[in-house]
Symmetry: C2
DNA sequence: CTGTTAGCGCTTTCAT
DNA sequence: ATGAAAGCGCTAACAG
């Protein structure tokens, strides 16, 4: 079990480092070598039509001979556009966001945009810093799953700087922009109704703070399902916790300590479910026998190995694809005046954790 | 079940888009407003000492009044350094690399570097393109888990451009540079010896192509364990496959079709194991009863939900941390002449898939 | 402590 | 079809 600083003294091997000397070839070097002006070289590297085939050939030869690669910095500064856009998520390690990010990158790449991926770790301050960096970088647009409603300030900042953005997974009350959402309310309702149909009456809910739209919407769905079934809402059954495994554990522990503890629990997402399950087991109980459990979002690899979580699976890739497409439309001015609000239905997947036969 | 183009016609909501007009405030605007020269403003934003407190105050006031954010493009072009480094992995969605990436980003951020994350999808061409982009961006260094030995060309290209890089997880024969590795050979040997100690004699191996160093090294460990136990190597038991779940399935299917099929299988990594298990189940068999299984790398969330895979877990975060630290040393010229080669031991975790009691 | 002068490497605009 | 001049926004290197 390596300790953190075990590698303070690295094992060393005596081998030469390759000779690295920055080769700073510029457009002028290419121009000189091919006997034309920098402007002509510029035309060649930008596939402008107005270059004679012969000149083009000579320039291209010089380029490959010199191993010239145009500087994006200079080009960006001069053109006043960077061809870069950003994807910001609260946690890349969450399989849901991992999928979102991959899809977004794919679309961006195909449209010839570079993408900068930013992980805020659900930290508002990191998010602020990251957004400032992106402004400094003159990113042309941002696809973002914001930390919470309090991200509004930084988004307004983006808007001030004329950087278009689209929200994914989460809305923010005062922010009007394109947005790609899951059907949180409907999905939650469906999950909870399923538990009710299984005979549960005391159903817990582990959820993050109310300033995240998905948390609010899913709570709404939870309440709607209960009320439709004539079950009174018991505030003690709603446990607020961080939206990660340790939050899930903490939340579940609190629910289990209740006098009249729930027989079933709905967690706001996959990672919370994970922690909740661990807490159940730590208490010497079992899912679903002692506590049934349903949640939002799947954990793909886990489910492939062991189909356990009954979940409302959201089409993560589509969040990324669509979000990026909408963003590209805005960037390229093709977007309509009115904003898009896309709501993607989830897929209800019944597995073992809910205890359905 | 949403079809791909169901969203060709997005639902629209009539809401105004915030008025976005690019605010192009430059250092000169700030200079003008605060009544100093651009140079003084530059000094202020760079925390240079040589500015009187009063001037500094006025400048800072102007900055916040104008909402000025210095352009990284211009700064980079002028300073001839971008403060950007890149992390390249073959698959961010692989929990192992997800962890690597997060750790790397953390270290980079603390050293005030921006990081660009690139996912090559194990595609050599994507890798080449990505590296070209990074050169164009004038990234200052690269931490890379290369696709295969054939990545050598693009790494040499990096070196030509004076971009330092460190290899993680995988070495490349002709490339001498800092590298952070796991103990593939030793780890593989330990895994296979464990299977042997459980009584297995026919042990299969599902592995990717031999031009990836980890594949070679793990095969070496596999063979060493067999030979130490006096078990003859049967080439039919070594299945080559893509290093992902579908590759794992394909590989396992081939092994199961053998006349004298293996009673245990070692897979080169976590994702291959996943596919292999699916194939076993699809064949109506069970792990570990019909086929025992061990692999490299854990699938964290899956294991938390259901501790199943017997695996050689590698300290992924340390790969990222150390790799980035080494890179930073190189970038900042603090690195020693000789290269570092760090080999991190794995942790052998016995769970159910190997069938140990 | 502050300002001036030159670029950084590319592209835009306008000539030719 | 090609080139010259100017400038994108910033900072290094010198003044003063």
């Amino acid at each position: 079990m390596p300790k953190q600083n075990q590698y303070e003294f690295w094992p060393k091997i005596v081998l030469p480092i390759p000779n690295m000397s920055p080769s700073n070839t510029t457009i002028r070097d290419v121009a000189r070598l091919s006997g034309v002006s920098p402007m002509t070289v510029s035309r060649v590297i930008n596939d402008s039509e107005r270059v004679s085939p012969e000149t083009r050939r000579r320039v291209e030869e010089a380029i490959s001979e010199l191993g010239y690669v145009p500087s994006r910095l200079a080009r960006g500064l001069s053109r006043q556009r960077t061809g870069t856009l950003a994807v910001i998520v609260p946690d890349v390690a969450n399989p849901f966001f991992t999928a979102v990010v991959r899809a977004a990158e794919e679309v961006a790449r195909r449209a010839d945009y570079q993408v900068i991926l930013c992980d805020t770790r659900a930290d508002l301050n990191v998010e602020r810093d990251v957004i400032d960096e992106l402004i400094a970088h003159r990113a042309e647009g941002v696809v973002i799953a914001p930390v919470s409603d309090r991200s509004a300030a930084q988004l307004r900042r983006l808007a001030e700087f004329g950087v278009p953005f689209v929200l994914i997974d989460r809305t923010i009350p005062e922010i009007d922009c394109d947005v790609v959402l899951g059907d949180s309310t409907g999905g939650a309702r469906q999950l909870v109704e399923h538990l009710i149909s299984l005979g549960h009456r005391r159903i817990g809910f582990i959820v993050e703070s109310d300033d995240v739209s998905t948390a609010r919407d899913r709570r709404r769905g939870y309440e709607a399902a209960l009320s439709a079934a004539g079950i009174a809402l018991d505030p003690a059954l709603v446990a607020h916790a961080a939206p990660d495994p340790s939050g899930g554990s903490a939340g579940m522990r609190r629910l289990l300590e209740l006098e009249d503890r729930p027989t079933a629990v709905f967690t706001v997402n996959n990672l919370v479910a994970l922690g909740a399950i661990e807490a159940v087991r730590a208490a010497g109980l079992e899912v679903p026998d002692d506590v049934a459990l349903v949640c939002f979002d799947d954990i793909e690899y886990a489910s492939r190995l062991y189909p356990f979580l009954t979940a409302m699976e959201q089409p993560a890739q589509t969040f990324g694809t669509l979000g990026t497409q909408l963003l590209l439309e805005r960037i390229e001015g093709r977007g309509p005046e009115r904003r898009h609000e896309v709501v993607l239905p989830g897929e209800f997947i019944v597995r073992k954790s809910c205890g359905a036969k």
